[in-house]
C-alpha cells in the first residue's frame, strides 16, 4: 500500500464514510438544535437583563453586574462540569443536554447583556429627553426608541461572540451529549480508525463556515458609523 493509500485508508475510508455518515448526521442535528436553543435563550435573557438594568434599581443592577462578570471570567467547561457533576449530589438530576443548554445560554446572556447595555448607554441623553417630553413613559421610550438602536449597534460584536459560543456545543462531548464530536470520538474508538473523527471535523466545518462567512457579512453590513 502506498503512503497515499494508507493516508486515505486512515482518514477517509470510503466504506466507513458510507456506514457511519448517518451517525454523524444525527450528531449534527443535536448540535444544531442545542446551538439554536442557546442562541435564542442567551440573546433573549441578555436583552432582558440589559433592559432591566436600564431601570437602575441598585441591588438588581449589582446582581446583574456580578452575574455578567462571573460568566465572562469563568471558562464554560468549568461551569459545565460543576453543574453536571455538582447538582446530582444535592438531589437535582438534569440530563446532560439540559446542562449544556443552560450553561452556554448563561454565558451568552452575560456577553449579550454587556453588549446591549453598551448600546443603551451610548444612546444620547437627548433622545431620552425628547421621547419622555412627547409623553412616552420610561418603558415605552426604552422599548421603542432606545432598544432598536442599541440592538442594531450590538449586532457586529454580538455576531462573533454568538458564533464562538455556539461552537462551544462541542464541549458537551465531555459530559456525553450526543453531538457531532461525541458521535465521532465514540465511533473512532469503536472502529479504531480516524475516519469518523475526520468526518466530525468536516461536519463542523460544513456547519460553521457558512456561519462565519455570514458573520463577516453582517459585521460589514451593520457596521454603523456614527458621525
Amino acid at each position: 500500500m502506498s503512503t497515499w493509500e494508507r493516508f486515505l485508508d486512515t482518514f477517509f475510508k470510503p466504506a466507513m464514510i458510507a456506514q457511519y455518515w448517518p451517525d454523524i448526521l444525527k450528531g449534527a442535528l443535536v448540535t444544531v438544535e442545542i446551538a439554536a436553543a442557546v442562541v435564542l435563550t442567551g440573546l433573549v435573557v441578555g436583552l432582558a437583563l440589559a433592559s432591566l438594568r436600564a431601570y437602575r434599581i441598585l441591588p438588581v443592577n449589582a446582581l446583574i453586574v456580578a452575574f455578567v462578570d462571573v460568566f465572562r471570567a469563568l471558562p464554560p467547561l468549568v461551569a459545565i462540569l460543576l453543574v453536571y457533576f455538582g447538582l446530582p449530589s444535592v438531589g437535582i438530576n438534569l440530563p446532560s443536554f439540559v446542562v449544556l443548554w443552560v450553561v452556554l445560554s448563561l454565558v451568552l446572556a452575560a456577553f449579550a447583556e454587556e453588549i446591549f447595555w453598551a448600546g443603551i448607554t451610548s444612546t444620547p441623553k437627548g433622545q431620552w429627553e425628547a421621547a419622555r417630553s412627547t409623553g412616552l413613559t420610561f418603558s415605552t421610550t426604552l422599548a421603542h426608541v432606545v432598544l432598536p438602536q442599541a440592538i442594531r449597534l450590538g449586532v457586529p460584536p454580538l455576531t462573533n461572540r454568538t458564533i464562538a459560543i455556539t461552537k462551544n456545543t462541542a464541549l458537551g462531548t465531555v459530559i456525553g451529549v450526543g453531538e457531532i464530536l461525541n458521535e465521532a470520538t465514540t465511533l473512532q474508538s469503536f472502529t479504531g480508525n480516524a475516519t469518523p473523527l475526520m468526518m466530525g471535523a468536516i461536519a463542523y466545518i460544513a456547519l460553521f463556515v457558512p456561519v462565519v462567512a455570514l458573520g463577516r457579512w453582517i459585521e460589514t453590513r451593520f457596521a454603523w458609523r456614527r458621525a
Binding site: 465572562r72 471570567a73 469563568l74 471558562p75 468549568v78 462540569l81 455538582g86 449530589s89 457531532i180 460553521f208
Partner: protein
Amino acid sequence: MELILQQFFNLEILQKVTPLLLRGLATTAYLCALVIPLGLAGGLAVALLSLSRWRAVVWTGVVLVDLFRAAPPLVLLILIYSGLPFAGITLSPTVAVCLAFFLNTSSYYGEIYRAGMDSVGRGQWEAARSTGLGAAATIVYVVLPQAVRNVLPDLVSNTIEVVKLTSIASVVSFPELLYSADMARSLTFNSTPVVLAAAIYVVVLWPLVRLVSRLERRVAAH
C-alpha cells in the same frame, strides 16, 4: 443548606486540595505563557498575508482564518491528539495543545490585527512611504503601533478567551487547573475542588474583564 455546604464548600476538602489546585494553576500559567505568544505571533503573520499584493496569498489567509474559526477548538485538539497517531504521528499533550491553540488563536488574533490595520488611514501609509520608509518599516513603525492601540480592547478580550480556553486541555489529560480540580472531584466524590477552580479562574480573570470594559469605553469615547 447543610448538604450544599457539604458538597460545594467543604472546608476540610478545600484544605486538602488547595496545594494540588495551585500546582494546576501554575501549569495553566505555563500553558498560557506558551500559547498566547504563539497565537499573537501567528495572528500577526496571518494578518500580514492580507496585505499581500497577490490575490492568491490574500485568499489563502482568508480561507485559513475562516477554516480554523469554524472548527471548534476542542474538535481541533481531539483531531490532533487522537487523530494524528493513526498517521504515525504521536504528539505529547503539551505539543498537541500548543498546535491546536496555535491554529485556533492565530485566526482570532489575525482577524483583530487585520481590523486594526484597516482602521489606520490610507494617508498614513502614503505619507510613510513618501518619506522614504520601506514597506516593512512602514508596517512596523507607522501602521502596527496605531493598529494595536485601536484594537487593544479586542486583543485583551481575546487573550482572556484564550486563558479560559486552556481549560479544554484537561480533556487530553494535560494537568492544568481544571484537570487537577476534576481529578480531585472524582477522588473525593465532592464538588468543592471544582468550585475552588471556578473561584480561582474568576479571581484571576475578573480584573482583566474589568480592564476590557474600561478600555472599550475609552476607545468608544474617541
